[in-house]
């Protein structure tokens, strides 16, 4: 595994002007590496949803990525209010977003389900009052199915 690439982007809550810039940069990194289009698309979608969550709900956060020859892993960690009920948050259509977020086209309750759909491995850890960490992995080469 000699071809490892890592990086980090910082995210600022409520900075809607730059919302999506980190995911866009990550997409650029993957394109430069010649990752297949379908995998780039899945990674970009998952990263963008996670990034929007930080912009909408948290004070600040960061997106870290690590690309190896076999997989892409992304960790998005925020300083936010935390998710009280993750199971509920994973339900399609469930959202706590205020109206002004809905009017911006987000907060329709599809974000976390979209991340789950786009990735091969997805973990959420959340602490009320402290923040949320999302971690997902997308395989670059087919591997044995894993289930936990």
């Amino acid at each position: 595994m000699n071809n490892v690439e890592e990086g980090v982007f910082f995210l600022t809550g409520k900075d809607f002007t730059n919302a999506g810039a980190a995911s866009s940069s990550l997409k650029g990194v993957l394109e430069k590496r010649g990752v297949p289009q379908d995998i780039i698309r899945r990674t970009a979608i998952a990263a963008f949803e996670a990034e929007m969550n930080v912009i909408i709900y948290a004070v600040a956060g960061m997106m870290k990525y690590r690309i190896t020859d076999t997989e892409i892993s992304v960790t998005i960690q925020d300083m936010g209010q935390g998710i009280p009920n993750i199971e509920l948050a994973m339900t399609e259509g469930y959202s706590t977003a205020p109206d002004y977020i809905r009017e911006m086209g987000f907060g329709s309750g599809m974000g976390l389900p979209n991340i789950k759909k786009s990735t091969d491995y997805f973990v959420i850890n959340s602490m009320i009052g402290e923040g949320t960490t999302l971690e997902f992995t997308i395989h670059l080469i087919p591997c044995d199915k894993e289930r936990a």
């Binding site: 809607f16 963008f48 949803e49 935390g82 086209g105 987000f106 959420i124 936990a148």
Partner: protein, 130 residues
């Protein structure tokens, strides 16, 4: 369906400069909620939307959407147009409603592909809440 046909059918205008217009789309989606676009759309598609903020351009970029059309005379601001130009995504604008825009394109043969993002990925969700 190519861009020239779409422009003619909808009597639409091009808002971006120096973005190539020799494009063909194979399917169309219509939504104001970006997460739905991200979960449904396939590549080589057209997005019909009433939302004009920068997140629409970002969504198109992530989902590899080729063309965006704004309906009902809605126009994005210059910063949003600039972002689309950077990402080389043509922006079109029509005065038609979203309903008539979709109807006219459908009438001329454009369709959605009902194909979810990916069929059966291996997913592990281990959720912890303290």
């Amino acid at each position: 369906m190519n861009l020239a046909d779409i422009l003619a059918i909808l009597n639409a205008r091009v808002l971006t400069n120096q973005v190539p217009l020799q494009k063909t789309v194979e399917s169309a989606y219509c939504a104001d909620l970006m997460s739905d676009v991200l979960s449904f759309s396939v590549t080589n598609s057209l997005l019909v939307t009433g939302l004009t903020n920068a997140q629409v351009i970002r969504t198109a970029e992530m989902a590899a959407i080729e063309v965006i059309i704004f309906i009902q005379g809605k126009r994005p601001d210059s910063q949003t147009i600039k972002l689309a130009e950077e990402k080389r995504i043509p922006l079109l604008a029509t005065d038609l409603s979203m309903f008539d825009t979709c109807g006219k394109l459908y009438e001329r043969g454009l369709r959605s592909q009902f194909h979810h993002l990916n069929q059966a990925p291996i997913v592990t969700v281990r959720a912890q809440s303290v």
